[in-house]
């Protein structure tokens, strides 16, 4: 190994070390504080305890908000998946006039009408529809935002599934919906699973939409309740915040790792946000 190569290797590892510290430093607290008998905001080796999780369990808002997050995420995922599967299947198999333009227009819309940019009209629309402070409203708004990308990606999957089974099923007298349910869905399962996980990850961490649309603390998801825990009044309860943060983060981390291992990361315009 030449001197230059050796220096290069040292440089690489030094750089990697610095970057590692930069990224890991804020995260350490999430691992230390939940298990500390007297958690502070500083990272320290925990004086191990699981007592903090009892604090969390006993807090009515925390556990209910996690339930709300599950409800909102599951609802959005289910509606997105069903509607996107129907639409993408039809768009994949039948040439509706203007299909390509439609797909690109949808994708364009979903990337420009973001939660941040459209918070005012969305808020007013939900007020007029009487869907303010209702979880259904949050689900519908989020579904509207996710559908274009979901349809776009699923159509790619549908395009690559073989059609011969559908023809056979038709010969045996299956209806279009039956074919979709019993023939296409099983084949397109990897695509559907990706979209399902993606939708849940998107919704799970979403703060802005439930923040502006939901008022009652007992309807708010964890993302919003978490924020109120550390902004509203007095000394923040760190035992509660740290355990809550950990519990709230685990599902998305697990799902992401699962998708990553199973399918690898794919790049489709705007898959993450």
């Amino acid at each position: 190994m030449t001197v230059r190569a050796a220096l290069g290797a040292v440089g690489r590892y030094v750089f990697a070390g610095f970057v590692f510290v930069f990224f890991a430093l804020p995260l350490l607290w999430l691992l230390s504080a939940p298990f500390d008998t007297a958690p502070s905001v500083q990272v320290s080796l925990p004086d191990f305890t699981l007592e903090n999780f009892r604090t969390l369990w006993d807090n009515p808002y925390a556990m209910r908000s996690l339930g709300n997050s599950v409800l909102i995420a599951a609802g959005t995922m289910a509606i997105t998946l069903v509607l996107a599967a129907l639409a993408s299947y039809a768009l994949s198999r039948v040439r509706i006039p203007g299909r390509d333009t439609l797909l690109y227009l949808l994708l364009l819309l979903s990337s420009i009408v973001t939660g941040t940019a459209a918070m005012v009209p969305t808020f007013l629309l939900m007020t007029e529809l009487g869907l303010i402070d209702r979880q259904l409203g949050v689900v519908l708004v989020l579904t509207g935002g996710l559908l274009p990308t979901a349809i776009f990606i699923l159509k790619d999957f549908m395009d690559s599934t073989p059609r011969s089974y559908e023809e056979s099923a038709r010969v045996f007298g299956a209806s279009s919906l039956q074919i979709l349910r019993h023939v296409v869905v099983p084949i397109a399962r990897p695509g559907l699973a990706t979209i399902a996980v993606w939708a849940v990850v998107q919704v799970w961490g979403n703060f802005l939409v439930p923040f502006i649309l939901l008022r009652s603390p007992d309807r708010q998801p964890a993302a919003v309740v978490m924020f109120t825990f550390y902004t509203e009044g007095g000394q923040p309860n760190l035992a509660l915040i740290s355990t809550f943060s950990l519990l709230f983060s685990i599902p998305v981390v697990v799902m992401y790792l699962f998708v990553n291992r199973r399918y690898g990361f794919r790049f489709h315009g705007g898959i993450k946000r």
Binding site: R12, W29, V41, A87, S111, A117, L147, G205
Partner: protein, 326 residues
Amino acid sequence: MTTVPSPTDLDPAGARGADPGGAGRGTGRGRGAAVDDGDAAGLGRWRAAGFVAPAMLVVAVFLVFPAIWTLYLGLTNWRLTGLAAAEPEFVGTENYTDALSDPAFRNSLMLTLAFVFFSAIVGQSILGFALAWVARRLRPAVRSVLETVVLLAWIIPASVVAFLWLALLDRREGTLNALLGTDGTAWLLEYPMQSIIVFNIWNGTAFSMLLFGSALASVPPSQFETARMAGAGTFATLRDVVLPNIRGHILTNTLLITLWTFNVFAPYLITAGGPQGRTEILGIYIYRVALRDGALGQGAALSLIMIIINLIVASVYLRLLRERRS
């Protein structure tokens, strides 16, 4: 059983026949394009439209309508409470002229530009590329650990990472002050903008790292080999081998992270726009004007400005995407 003629036959709905020129355009696109129009399930145009309709309805009501409605709302003095809440009046372009002459809006716009430029275009792109570049030649175990922490910063919910940063930067007991020995430094009060810029680099670099990682993997190894044989250094290799190969990726990355960073709301969870509006990027500014101070008409005008800026960036990106796919 519905007896629909075979795909090559006459379809009662005339799905394919009624689309002159469409088939030619469709054949070049993506996998399975050769049988693109093989309506194997015998859907027919009307049933297909029925399948598409529910999704379109949701999109129309909750995505398209708000965008279009903003056009009208921005021309009114609609308020959250009070008289103008019950009967909003038409005020013409007053909201826009007010916004343009309002120093708070101009301040917010400048902050947003700085935020996007430094945190995304410079910070995330360069760090993301450097990570992807260096990671190729790290031991696989080291590489996967490094990539995992970068990814964690990206996928953990915003309300959690915001608190992690509040804890890190805390004035009295923060880990950063303890490490640097800068006891009592109130990072979020003294360097608020710098803090949220660094936060956003931390938060979003994963995407650039992944994108450049796959870009670098697509550079033919033979070209690296040739560069090494010619004795090219790292800089020359980057300039002459890597850059020409990943130009498209750089553009894609820049446009996407610009669009996303422009629409970011997470800094609100850390600084809430303060102190004294010094981190009030556009999204936070709109939130304050419209939903906290209640000037919905004014907020709608600002929303429209934001949507139009989004439209400009996104249409450049989609044009590129479309060219590449066809």
